[in-house]
Amino acid sequence: MDLNASLYLVRPEVILSFSALALLLVSAWRAECGRLVSILAVATLAGAGAYVAHFLCNDTDAMAFYGLFSNDSFANLSKILIYIAAAIALMIAPRFLEKAGAMRAEYPVLILLSCIGMGIMVSATDLVTLYIGLELQSLSAYVLASFARYDGRSAEAGLKYFVLGGLASGILLFGMSLLYGFAGSTSFAAISAAIGGDAGLGLVFGIVFVLSGLAFKISAAPFHMWTPDVYEGAPTPVTAFFASAPKVAAIALTMRVAVEAFGSQIAVWQQIIIAVALMSIIIGAVGAIGQQNLKRLLAYSSINNVGFILIGLAAGTEQGIAAMFVYLAIYVAMTLGSFIILMQLKDRDGAYREGMSDIAGLSKTRPALAAMLAIFMFSLAGIPPLFGFWGKLVVFQAAVAANLLPLAVIGIAASVIGAFYYLKVVKVMYFDDPADVIFAGDDKTLTWTGAALALANSPVGYLSIPVLGLLSAQAARTLF
C-alpha cells in the first residue's frame, strides 16, 4: 500500500490537523479572535465531515498505514457523531466563555485537536494507534476542563481529571503490555488470533486491565468517581462536550477492542461488561437521587446511560453493536440538549445558575425552556413516546436476543430507579412554586439548537429510525 492511498483514507484527520495548526497560528498573533476561530473550526469540521460522509455512503472498508488505521463504516459513523457533537460544543460556547472571561482562541483549537484524537481512537486497529489517539484526546480534554482558569472549580476539575486520567492511562498501558507479551503483537487482528483457546491468568489480567482503563474513559462504574467532579467544575459548554463526543469515541473504541482484539475471548469479557453495565446503571441512578446541582445530576445520568449502552456490548452480537450506535446517537442528542438548556439558566444579573432549586416553577416563568428540559428528562428516562425510549428498547432487544434475560430484567427494573430523579427535575419545574430566579436568555444559537434537539427527542425523532437503523447495522457489520 503506498502512502498516497493511506493519506487519502486519513484525509479527515489531515484536514483537521492542518486546520488546527493554522488556527493555532492565527490565535497566536491575534489573541482576541475566539469567535472567528470558532467559526472556522466549525467549517473545518464540516469539511472533514463531508469526507467522512462520503466514506460512509460508499461503505468504505480499507486499512491505512499497514494495518494501523482502519477507515470503515464503524469508524466513520462514530466520527460523524463526534464531529456533530464537537460542532455543537463549539457553537454554544463563545457567549458562555466570554461571560466567564475565558473565551480564547485556544478553545476551538483544543476541540479540533481532541477531534483528531477521537478520530484516531475510533479508527485504531492497533494498540499503539489506540494509545496515541486516546492520549491526544485526553490531553486536550484536561486543558479544556480547566479552561476557565481563574475559576477555582474549573482548575480543580482539570487537575482531578488529569491525575485520575493519568492513572487510567497507566492501567491501560499495563494491560496493553501484558497483552503484547502474550500475543506477541500489538495489532488487534493478531491479538485476536493469538489469544484464542484457553485463556491463561496473565491474559485475563491483560484483558481486565485494558477494559478497566477504557471503563475509566467512558466513566463506567466502578471507575466513574471523577465524572461528577469534573462535570461540575468544568465550564458548561466543555461539560457538554465531555458528555457527548469523547464518550462516543471511547465507547466506540471499547466496542472495537472488545470485538476485534478480544473477539476470541468473549466469555472472558462478557461477564466483566455485564457487571460494569449493571453497576453503572445502579450507581448512576442511586447517586443522582440526592444531587442538588444539575450538572452533577447530569453527570450521574451519563454514568447511568453508559450502563445501558454497555448492555448492547454485553450481548456481544452484531445486533448489540448496532443497538449501541443507535443509543449513542440518541444519547448525544439528549445530553447535549440538556446541557444547552442548562446554559440558558441565567439569573437577573446574567450569572449562570445550576442548582435544582433555581429551576423551581420554571414552567410558569419560562414555559418553553421548561418544556424542553422536561422532554430531555423524560427522554433520558426512556419513557415513550420520547425518542430516548427507542435507544433503551434496541439495547434490551439485543440483550434478549442474546439470551441475557436476567441482565435485561435487572437493567430495566433499575431504570425505574433512574426515572425517579428525572421525574424530580420535572416535578421541581412544574409542581413547585416559582423561585423567580431565572430570567430570559438572549442567545439565539442556544435557543435554536436546543429547540432542534428537543424536536429530535420528541416523537418526531422516530421518523429517523429507518436511517439510524441502516447506518448502525452497516457500522456493526464491519466489526464482525
Partner: protein
C-alpha cells in the same frame, strides 16, 4: 358511507394531537373551546366508526399499515372489543373537558393539551396492532397523567403523582422485556399474528407473569392497588373520571388482548391466583370503602372491587364470563366516571370531599340527588342499569368454573350496596346539619349536560345491552375458541350435554351461537 378507504383511526389520533399543540399556544378561553371542539369532533368520528363497523365482517376492521418507523409498524385496526372501549374514551372526553370548564382556572392551555394527549394515547392503546406501538401508547399515558395529577391536583398531589408514575412504570417495564422476547421468538410484532402463535407452556408462564405485573397494577388488583386511591383523591375531577373511566380499562383490555389468547395454558394455570386475589379484593376493598370519610376515596376503593369482578369474569374461559367482564368494564367506566363527576359537582361548591360536611342534599339539590341516586344504583348493580348486566353475566360465567369464587365475589354486590347506599344516605338524606351545604344551589345547565348523557347510556346499557354485546360477541367467541383447549374443568355438577337441565342454563343460546360461528 365507506370508512374503509379513509384512515379514520389515524384521523382520530391526529385530531386531539393537533388540538393539543394548538392549546399549548392558546389563551385560556380559546383553549377550552379548541379542546371541546376537538373532543366533540372525535366523538362524531367515533359514532361514524361505530356505525360503519360491521359485526359480521372481518375480524380486524379499519386496518391501516404504514412503514414509517422501521421496526415499529404504524399498524392500526380494531375489533369489536377495541371499538367499544374506543367509544367509551371518546364519549367520556368531551364530558371531562366540560367538567373542567370552570374548575380549572390556572394554566388552562396546558391542562387541555394534557387531556387531549391522553385521548390520543387511549385511542392508540385500543387501536394499536403492533406490540411495540401498543407499548408506546400504553406507557406514554403516564406523562400527561403525571402532570395532570401533579399540577392541578389536591394538597398531597406530589406524592400521589410519583406513586402513580413509578408504580405503573415498574409494572410495565418487565412486560417490555417479555414483549421483546415474544417478538424475538415469533419474528413479528404484529398482534393478530401473535394471537395465533403458540408459545411453549414453560415460556408462557414467565410471559404471563410479566404481563400480569403490568396489567395487575393498571387494573388495579389487590395488593398493588394502593396507588389508585392516592391518585384518585389528588387528581382533579376530570382526571379521576379519565383514570377510572378509561385508564383502568387498559388493564382489562391487556388481559383480554394479550394474556388470555396469547398464553392460554399459563392463564389456566394461574386461575387460582387471579381468583384468589380477586376474592380478597372484592371483600377487602369493599370493607375499606365502607369506612371511608372521603367521597373520592370511597369511590376509588369501589373501583378496585368492581375491577376484581372483571378479572374473575375474564378468567372464566367462557363466553358469558368474558362478555360480562367487558360489560362491567364499560359500565364501570360510565358509572364511576359519573360518580366522580357527582363528587366534583359538590366539591366545586364546598371545596371539601369529606362526607360529613354534606347531608340532606335532596332537599336543596333535587336534580342532583336524582342523578346521584341513579348512578349509585348503577354502581350497586340494580337491574335496569348497566351494572346489573355486566355483573350478572360475569358471575354467571364464573359459577361454571368455581362456585366458591362466585360466592365470595357475589358478596361484593351486597357489600357494594352497603357502602354506596350508606354514602348516598349520608350525602343526600338526613338532616341538613351543615348550613353551607344546605345553601348550595342545584346543578346548572352545564352540569346537567355532563351527567345526562352518561345517565342515558347507563340506562340504555341496562335495558338493552344487546347494542353493546353485538359487536363483541364474535370477538369474544374467537378468544373462547382460542383458549378452549386450556379451559379449566370447573366444579359444576351440571352436565353440559344433559338435556334435562338445558333449559335452566343461563345464556345457553350464546354458546350455541358461538359454536355455530366456527
Amino acid at each position: 358511507m365507506n370508512a374503509g378507504s379513509i384512515p379514520i383511526l389515524s384521523i382520530m389520533l391526529a385530531v386531539p394531537t393537533l388540538a393539543a399543540i394548538a392549546c399549548l399556544f392558546a389563551r385560556a378561553e380559546m383553549a377550552r373551546i379548541i379542546a371541546l371542539t376537538a373532543t366533540l369532533f372525535n366523538l362524531l368520528l367515533g359514532v361514524w366508526l361505530w356505525l360503519s363497523y360491521d359485526p359480521a365482517g372481518a375480524q380486524w376492521q379499519f386496518v391501516e399499515n404504514a412503514e414509517l418507523f422501521g421496526p415499529i409498524g404504524w399498524k392500526l385496526g380494531i375489533d369489536g372489543i377495541s371499538l367499544t372501549l374506543i367509544m367509551l374514551s371518546v364519549f367520556l372526553m368531551p364530558i371531562c373537558i366540560g367538567a373542567s370548564w370552570h374548575a380549572i382556572d390556572k394554566r388552562v392551555g396546558e391542562y387541555m393539551a394534557a387531556f387531549l394527549l391522553m385521548e390520543t394515547l387511549m385511542i392508540g392503546v385500543f387501536a394499536a396492532q403492533d406490540l411495540l406501538l401498543f407499548y408506546i401508547f400504553f406507557e406514554a399515558g403516564l406523562i400527561p397523567m403525571y402532570l395532570i395529577i401533579g399540577i392541578w391536583g389536591g394538597a398531597d398531589r406530589i406524592y400521589a403523582s410519583y406513586k402513580f408514575f413509578l408504580y405503573t412504570l415498574l409494572g410495565s417495564v418487565v412486560m417490555l422485556i417479555a414483549m421483546l422476547w415474544m417478538i424475538q421468538q415469533a419474528g413479528t410484532a404484529d398482534i393478530p399474528t401473535l394471537l395465533n402463535t403458540d408459545f411453549a407452556p414453560e415460556a408462557q408462564k414467565w410471559l404471563w407473569l410479566a404481563f400480569f405485573a403490568s396489567f395487575a397494577v393498571k387494573m388495579p388488583m389487590w395488593p398493588v392497588h394502593t396507588w389508585l386511591p392516592d391518585a384518585h383523591v389528588q387528581a382533579p375531577t376530570a382526571g379521576s373520571v379519565i383514570l377510572a373511566g378509561v385508564l383502568l380499562k387498559m388493564g382489562g383490555y391487556g388481559f383480554l388482548r394479550f394474556s388470555l389468547p396469547m398464553f392460554p395454558e399459563a392463564s389456566a394455570d394461574f386461575i387460582p391466583l387471579v381468583f384468589g386475589l380477586s376474592m380478597v379484593a372484592v371483600v377487602y376493598t369493599s370493607l375499606v370503602a365502607l369506612v371511608q370519610n372521603d367521597m373520592k376515596k370511597l369511590i376509588a376503593y369501589s373501583s378496585v372491587a368492581h375491577m376484581a369482578i372483571v378479572t374473575v369474569g375474564l378468567f372464566t374461559f367462557n363466553q358469558q364470563g368474558i362478555e360480562g367482564a367487558i360489560i362491567v368494564m364499560l359500565s364501570h367506566g360510565l358509572v364511576s366516571g359519573a360518580l366522580f363527576l357527582c363528587v366534583g359537582v359538590i366539591y366545586d361548591r364546598l371545596h371539601t370531599r369529606e362526607i360529613s360536611r354534606y347531608g340532606g342534599l335532596s332537599i336543596n339539590m333535587p336534580k342532583y340527588a336524582l342523578l346521584f341516586m341513579l348512578f349509585t344504583m348503577a354502581s350497586v348493580g340494580l337491574p335496569g342499569t348497566s351494572g346489573f348486566v355486566g355483573e350478572f353475566l360475569s358471575l354467571a360465567g364464573a359459577y361454571k368454573v368455581s362456585t366458591w369464587a362466585t360466592l365470595i365475589a357475589t358478596t361484593g354486590i351486597i357489600l357494594g350496596a352497603g357502602y354506596m347506599l350508606y354514602l348516598y344516605r349520608r350525602i343526600a338524606f338526613g338532616e341538613q346539619v351543615n348550613a353551607d351545604a344546605a345553601a348550595m344551589r342545584d346543578m346548572d345547565g352545564r352540569e346537567m349536560w355532563l351527567l345526562a348523557p352518561i345517565a342515558a347510556a347507563v340506562l340504555w346499557m341496562g335495558v338493552y345491552p344487546e347494542t353493546f354485546l353485538a359487536p363483541i360477541r364474535r370477538d369474544v367467541a374467537n378468544i373462547v375458541d382460542r383458549i378452549e383447549r386450556a379451559a379449566p374443568a370447573g366444579d359444576t355438577k351440571l352436565k353440559d350435554q344433559d338435556p334435562t337441565t338445558a333449559k335452566y342454563r343461563v345464556g345457553g343460546h350464546e354458546e350455541k351461537a358461538a359454536e355455530g360461528s366456527h
